[in-house]
């Protein structure tokens, strides 16, 4: 199907503990995309007693979904490569040592949003290979069907917000941002309690080839710095901004 004129529809709905925005030039994709995101949320909602994640953490013996197995294997690989800067283990996210506590409770909070975005984009392109647009979940965004895109990064600590335009292109169409405004908002929905290594008010933006990786690598940069980020050679770029929106670090992995 050839589209001579693109008519984009945009929706915004709550989901994954944040707001999910979908923009696409084929309105028929909107419901399937939100349904896919809802299905992933049902699997990985840390607080929902019926979620697969919760039942896993409660030591209920269940066959694990393909999605769960994928996230677990990616999470463990990232943990190893980043020397624990990224970790799915809640105790380590709180700054404790896994071996000391002996609790293997996991939370895919550092991966699941990006994964959901990637899954939605994959579904969009499977249903309509010529589709264009983006899927965004609370600051994690992935563009599809276009050669380049520009987003407005919002930096600093509310209410002192600065913006900077960021243009991405080619394979690097996924952008994840971790900012103090977002960290403050996470509150009890996040298990993360560790202090990052950057000055107060810093924001970290990672540009990568997929959103799950971008999402995870914001944690690697936040807790492990450029040193741990370097392990992901050629796959991503990190930008660290101070509270005034000035660039502190632009690590190319």
């Amino acid at each position: 199907m050839t589209k001579s004129k693109r008519n984009f529809s945009t929706r915004c709905r709550p989901g994954l503990g944040t707001l999910i925005r979908v923009q696409v030039d084929n309105e028929e994709l909107i419901e399937p995309l939100y349904a896919r995101i809802a299905a992933i949320e049902a699997l990985f909602n840390f607080h929902d007693p019926s979620s697969e994640l919760r039942r896993y953490n409660d030591n209920t013996l269940i066959p694990l979904s393909d999605e769960f197995q994928k996230l677990m294997s990616v999470a463990l690989e990232l943990r190893q490569l980043s020397h624990g800067a990224f970790t799915p283990y809640v105790m380590e996210q709180k700054g404790q040592h896994l071996a000391d506590i002996g609790s293997a409770v996991v939370d895919f909070g550092g991966l699941a949003k990006g994964f959901a975005v990637d899954e939605a984009v994959s579904l969009a392109l499977a249903l309509d290979p010529e589709a264009q647009g983006f899927v965004e979940a609370g600051g994690d965004i992935r563009y599809f069907g276009q050669a380049e895109a520009t987003i407005q990064l919002r930096l600093g600590v509310p209410p002192q917000i600065m913006t900077r335009e960021l243009r991405v292109a080619g394979d690097f169409m996924s952008v994840a941002t971790s900012s103090p405004g977002m960290a403050a908002e996470f509150g009890e929905t996040s298990t993360q309690l560790r202090e990052g290594i950057w000055p107060k008010g810093s924001s970290i933006t990672v540009v990568a080839k997929n959103c799950m990786l971008a999402d995870a690598l914001t944690k690697v940069m936040l807790f492990g710095g450029a040193k741990e980020f370097a392990a992901f050679r050629g796959e991503a770029q990190a930008l660290v901004f101070d509270a005034e929106g000035q660039l502190l670090e632009s690590g190319m992995s």
Binding site: T18, Y143, R164, R167, G170, T177, A184, F186, V207
Partner: protein
């Protein structure tokens, strides 16, 4: 750690970064009330109505939902079969959100759509210290794509407030359905 004052477009590997600019009030309008009703219930016709919760109803809704009722006035779109779309507003940490909730006549949520999202602090950024950072700043890059695609940063608290609002409106529906 390297610090640089960047006032020009900066090419950094695969990305291009523009200069720092002050945030002006940021708003996104996604759809109208009527469009939201149609999106949630595609095959229904709606009549726009206003309801007023009585003080007893307000107390009961607050008690059963655990949420504060900020205004007893309700704006709804009602279908002949008593499916309803509520139009409601909540305040996130720094965002004002108008949204629609569709509730079926059996009391279940059919769908939620954000209608409008407006940050409340953009116009407040006027302090002298803040202004000093932008001496010599250039305007935002004139390079624009013909598609205006903007990113939205974290909105977790906003989402929680919308979800709480949906919970309140579910209980509100219970209270008013006898009057429909």
């Amino acid at each position: 750690m390297r610090k640089s004052d960047i006032f020009n477009i900066l090419a950094l590997g695969p990305v291009v970064l523009g200069p720092v600019a002050a945030q002006t009030a940021h708003a996104e309008i996604y759809m109208s009330e009527e469009q939201a009703a149609k999106s949630i219930f595609p095959n229904l016709q709606f009549e726009k109505k206003q309801f007023q919760l009585k003080p007893d109803d307000v107390n009961l809704v607050e008690k059963t939902s655990g949420e504060t009722v900020r205004s007893p006035q309700l704006k709804v779109y009602k279908a002949p079969n008593n499916d309803l779309v509520f139009i409601d507003q909540v305040l996130g940490k720094h965002e004002f959100i108008t949204y629609a909730v569709g509730i079926e006549s059996d009391g279940t949520v059919r769908g939620v759509e954000i209608l409008e999202y407006r940050e409340t602090y953009g116009s407040q950024v006027r302090g002298e210290d803040f202004k000093k950072q932008f001496v010599g700043k250039t305007k935002l890059s004139p390079l624009k794509l013909d598609k205006d695609i903007k990113g939205l940063s974290g909105a977790t608290l906003s989402s929680a407030h919308v979800t709480a609002g949906v919970r309140r409106l579910l209980h509100t529906y219970d209270q008013i359905k006898a009057q429909l």
